[in-house]
Symmetry: D2
Subunit: 329 residues, 4 copies
C-alpha cells in the first residue's frame, strides 16, 4: 500500500500542492495531465509554481484550478541569533504582488485562522498581530495614509470550539461590509513529511478549501463562499501521526525489499490489516494526533515574521525592503 | 460650576444611569419627570432599577427609554482569600432572566467588547472566556445539549486600532447570520466616582449607545443598529481624570465656602477659566486620561466571574446556583 | 527488538513509573525484585502505588528509591460540558497529604515547570496560576491566615531558552531563602503510550530526575540538588514520535508473526537497521518530535484544575472538598 | 502648600531625578548643593545628566549618590505608522555603555520588574521578552557566540501578590549563582507630570531604591542588597492621582492669585484641610490610584522597543545600529 492509497483510505488531505503533485508523479516522475510546474532557485531556497489548469487536473490533484506557489527554505529551521530573512521576505512579497495585484486604492482583509491557545495552530493570529492595519486611519487621518498605504483591516476570528461560529459564517458578513478587493487568509498547514515543518510557505490563489489541513473546523474560504477573491498563505507546522506510522511501514519495506514475504504484506490483500495496525497504534486519538517538534513555537515565530513582512511590503506602496522591519516589532 | 455643567462642557458622558439620575436630582433630591426608581436591599448590597419612561426623560437623562438595573456591592472591592460570590451571582442571574427572558430554544450572542491589551478595558474578553459556548454542540452532539442548554455563541471583536473595523460593523453581519434572540454586550465603563470602581454592575436593556464610556471607538450597539434585542452589562473600571480634577475644585469650594471670594470663582463668569485650568492640568492627554487603581486587574477578574456565572445560570436551563461554579474554572 | 531495547538504544526515558514497571514485567508479568505494587480502584479510575525499595530496584527501574503514585482516569479525556472532577480532586488531595504530610506551620514552594509558549509544555504554569499563594499574607495580614492557611509561595521559572538559566540553578537560591518544608514541582511528562495522554497523573516523592520527560533542558530537582524535600506531580501530554514509529513496527510483527521472514527482521542482527529506519523517518527533528492530540490545550486545562484543586485542599487547613472550587476560578 | 510639601506629606516619591531636582530648584532656579546637572540636545530630544555627589545632596534629593541620565523625547508619544527610533535607540545605547561599561567576557542579568497582568506595569516583562538571551549558548554553542556576544541571562520575577516572594529575595539567590558583572533592572515609573508619560527614559547607576514608584511591593534592588552593580532603566507610565488633584489646586491658586482670600488658603494653616480634601476625593483607593492614558499599551510598547534595542546594542559586541532591529521582532 503506497502513501497515496494510504492517505485516501485514511481520509488524510495533504495541504501542500507540491506534495500532492509529487505523489501523483511517483518515483517514475511522470507528467500529470493539466498540471504545469515551474521551479526557480534563489539564494535562500527554491520557489515552485504549480498551475492546475483544467477540471480533470482539479480532480487528480484534489484541489481547485489555480496557482500554488511554494517556497522551500531548508535553512529556515535552524536557529539564528541575528535573524535576517530579508531575501526571503522580499521574494515572498514579489510573488504575493503577482498573485494579489494590489492597486493604490484597494482594500484588503487579512484573516488569521487558527487557535491562539494551541501553539502549532497559532500561525494565523501571530501574522495578524504583525500586520499593519490602516483601515481606520483612512477615516481619521486620511492625509497621512492616502497614496502611501493601502486600506487594510485584519481579524483573528477564533476557532469553532471557543466561539460556536464557523469561520466562513463569521467572515461572510464581514466581507459584505468591508468589501475587500482581496481577503488574505493565513493558516497553519499539515504536511506529509517532517522536513516540511517550518521550512515551507505556500501561497494559493484559490483560498482555503474543504478537506484541508490541521483542523476540520471550517468550511471552505474561497471566492464562491465569500464573494471576494481569497488568497491563502500557509506554513506546515505538523504532520499527521498516521503519516509517520505509514512512513515507518514503507521504510521497513524498502530496507528489507529482498524478502518476498515482506513485499507480499504490501499487496492489496493486506491493505485492511495495515490500516488496522495504524489505527490501533494511534488509538484513542486517531485523526487528531499531530506530530510536531518541541521548538514549534520558534518555527512559527520565524514564519510569521516573514509572512507579515512580505504582506506589509506587498500591500502598502510606501513600505519596502528598506523599511519593512520597523513594521514587525 | 457644578459637576453637571462641567461634564456637559467637557463632553464627558457618565455610563451609569444611577449617576446621571443622582446628578439630575441634585442635593435637593427632586423627582425627575418620566423616570421611576426602585431600590431593594439584599445581603451583598443594593439593587436599583431606574426606568426611563418617555421621550422627555430620555432627553434629560441622556440615554434611551428603557430599564437600567444597577447592583451596588460595596464589599466586592476588598480582597477575599476564598472568593464566594454565590449570592450576588444568583441575584444577578435573576435580574438578567427578567431582562433577557430566555426560552429553551433561544439563541444568544455574547460579545466581549474592549481591548485585551489594556487591563482596565479587558472586562468583556474576560467574561467571554468564561461563558459556556454551545452553539456548535447543537450541530455535533444535539442529544447532549437539547433542552439542557441554550444555543450560545460568543466573540471578542477586538478594538478599532487593531482590526481597522468598527465593532458595530463587525457585529452586523454576524447578527444576520447567527440570528440571536438577544445579543449580550459586556463592556468596561467609566464612572463619575472612584467608589464605583469594581463595586457596581449595570444591566441596560437598551444596549450600548453613543457617547458612552471609556472608548470613543464604537458606534451604538442596539436594536436599531443591529436588528436584534441588545442587553448591555457593564462594570466601571475607570474614572475620567477630568472628573477627579473637578471633584478637587468642588471640594475646595465646600471646605472654604465661607470665603465669598471663592464662591465667586464658581460663578458662571469663571466657567471658562475653570475649564481651562482642568484642561491645562490634564494636558497633553486630556480626554483619554483615566484614573484607575493599581489592583484593577483583580477587580476586573472578580466582576468577570460574577457576570459570567450569572450569564451561564441565566441562559442555560441545566445550570443553576449549585453547579455554575464548574463553568467558571 | 522489543520496546525496552528500543527505548534504551534510542535514549528515550519513560516518565511514568507504571510504564517502566510494566515493561520490566513484560508479557509474562514477572515480579521485579525490590519493587512493590499496590492497586486500588475508586469511582473515577485506578490508583497504583509503586515502591522502589532498594538500590538494585533503583537500577532496574531507572529511577530513585521512593514512592510513585499513579492515577489512571480513563474518562477524563472525554469533554464534559459541566466539568465535575470533585471525586478525583479529593482522592488526589488525600494521596498528596500522605506524601507531603503538611503541618499547619509549614512553608511550601510550588514550581510550575515548562514553557508558557508551547501548549503541551504549559501544564506547570497553568497549575501555578490556580494555586492559592499566601506567603506574603503571613506578613501583611497574619490574623486572617494564621491556622487557616499554610505558607505557600509559587513561581514559574521559565525555560532555559528564554532565561539562559537552568531551572535547578534558579531554584537553588530561592529554596535557600524561602526554606520550604517541601517543594512541589509540576511538569508535563512524556508517556510511552497515547492512551496515557490526559488520563494519568503521577505523584513522585523523589522529585524530578535526569533523563526524564519532555525536555532535556533541566537538571535534577530533588532533595540532593535543592536541599529540601521535593515532590513531583506530572501529567503525560505527549508521546515521543519514535515510540509511535516503534509501535508500528511491533504491530506489523504481531499481525504477521506467522511469517518467519518477518520474525527474523526483529532478531538482534537487524537492530541497527531498524534503529536507522526510525531515525530516517523522524529526520530532521529526531528526539525533539512529539506526538500530541490537537485538543491538548483542553486536556491540560482539565488536569491543571484537578492538580491545583488537590494542592489547595492538601496544603491549606481551611480548604476542603466543599469550598476548593472557589480557589480555581 | 507647594508640590514639594504636598508630596512629602502625602508620602509620594517622584521616580525621576530630574523632577526631584526641578522641585528643589523651584521657580527661582537655585543651585542645589552637591548636585551637578548637564544637558545636551540631540535630534530626538534632550539628555540630562544629574550627578548626586555627596551625602548631603543624597538627603536633599531623596536618592543615593550616583548618576541619573534622563532622555526627554517629546515626539515619542505621538503615533507613527513607520516607527523609526534608530537615533534614540543608538543614543541610549551609548549612554548605557558609559554606565554599564561592558567587557567582552562580562555576564549580565536583565530583570523585568512589574506585572504582566496590569498594562501600565508591564514595561519590564516586555523589555525582557525582546532582550537577546545568550547565557545558555555559551555552554551549548560557545564557538558561535564567543567574542561576538556577551553572556546575558534574563528573568521576569513576577509580583509579590502572585508569587508570595519579594523581588529582592528572589534575585539574591540568582545573583549568587549567575554572578553577573551588572544586573540591569527595567521598571515602570510614576511621574510628577502627565507630560512625562511615555516620553521619558531614565537610567540610574544606583539601582532601584525604597520609596520609589508605582509599587510598594519591593525592597531596594541595589549593590548593597544584591551584591552586584545594579543599573535601573525606567519609563514613567502613570502619575499618582493625588498629584493631579494637587495640580488642580495649584492651578486655581495661580489663576486667581489676585484674590487674597484664595492665597490665604494655601497658607500653612490650611495644609491639613487641603490634605483632607485630596484624601477625600481619592477615597477609597488613595495611594493606589494612578492616572494613565488609555493608549498606555502603545506607549509602553514603543519604550520597550527602544530600551531592548539599546540594551542589545550595548551588551553584545556584534550588535550595532545596522542590525539591532532583527533582535526586536
Amino acid at each position: 500500500m503506497d502513501l497515496k492509497t494510504f492517505l485516501q483510505r485514511s481520509n488524510i488531505h495533504l495541504d501542500l500542492a507540491v506534495e500532492a503533485h509529487a505523489l501523483l508523479r511517483g518515483d517514475a516522475d511522470v507528467e500529470v495531465d493539466g498540471v504545469a510546474m515551474n521551479q526557480e532557485d534563489f539564494s535562500d531556497g527554491t520557489i515552485t509554481v504549480i498551475t492546475i489548469k483544467d477540471a480533470m487536473a482539479e480532480k487528480t490533484m484534489g484541489r481547485p484550478i489555480g496557482t500554488y506557489i511554494t517556497f522551500e527554505l531548508p535553512e529556515l529551521r535552524d536557529a539564528d541569533l541575528l535573524r535576517e530573512y530579508q531575501v526571503t521576505t522580499t521574494e515572498l512579497a514579489k510573488k504575493l504582488k503577482k498573485v494579489i495585484d494590489p492597486k493604490k486604492d484597494n482594500t484588503f482583509l487579512v484573516v488569521g485562522l487558527g487557535n491562539w491557545h494551541a501553539t502549532p495552530d497559532a500561525l494565523g493570529p501571530r501574522v495578524v498581530e504583525k500586520t499593519l492595519v490602516t483601515r481606520h486611519l483612512f477615516k481619521f487621518i486620511p492625509e497621512e495614509v492616502d497614496g502611501k498605504m493601502c486600506n487594510v483591516a485584519a481579524i483573528t476570528p477564533g476557532v469553532l470550539g471557543l466561539t460556536g461560529i464557523e469561520t466562513a459564517d463569521m467572515l461572510r458578513g464581514l466581507v459584505e461590509h468591508v468589501k475587500p478587493d482581496c481577503l488574505i487568509a493565513i493558516d497553519a498547514l499539515a504536511a506529509g513529511s517532517l522536513s516540511r515543518i517550518g521550512t515551507t510557505i505556500q501561497i494559493a490563489d484559490t483560498g482555503i478549501n474543504p478537506g484541508s489541513g490541521i483542523g476540520n473546523h471550517r468550511r471552505g474560504l474561497n471566492e464562491e463562499t465569500l464573494g471576494c477573491k481569497v488568497v491563502a498563505i500557509g506554513v506546515p507546522t505538523v504532520v499527521n501521526a498516521a503519516v509517520i506510522a505509514h512512513q515507518t511501514l514503507e521504510a521497513i519495506l524498502k530496507e528489507f525489499e529482498s524478502e518476498p514475504a515482506l513485499a507480499a504484506i504490501y499487496s492489496p490483500d493486506h491493505e485492511e490489516s495495515l490500516m488496522g495496525i495504524v489505527d490501533n497504534v494511534l488509538h484513542p486519538f486517531r485523526g487528531s494526533l499531530m506530530v510536531t517538534p518541541k521548538e514549534v513555537d520558534e518555527l512559527i515565530e520565524k514564519s510569521a515574521l516573514i509572512i507579515a513582512g512580505a504582506l506589509n511590503i506587498c500591500l502598502h506602496p510606501d513600505i519596502n525592503k528598506d523599511n519593512y522591519e520597523s513594521t514587525l516589532y
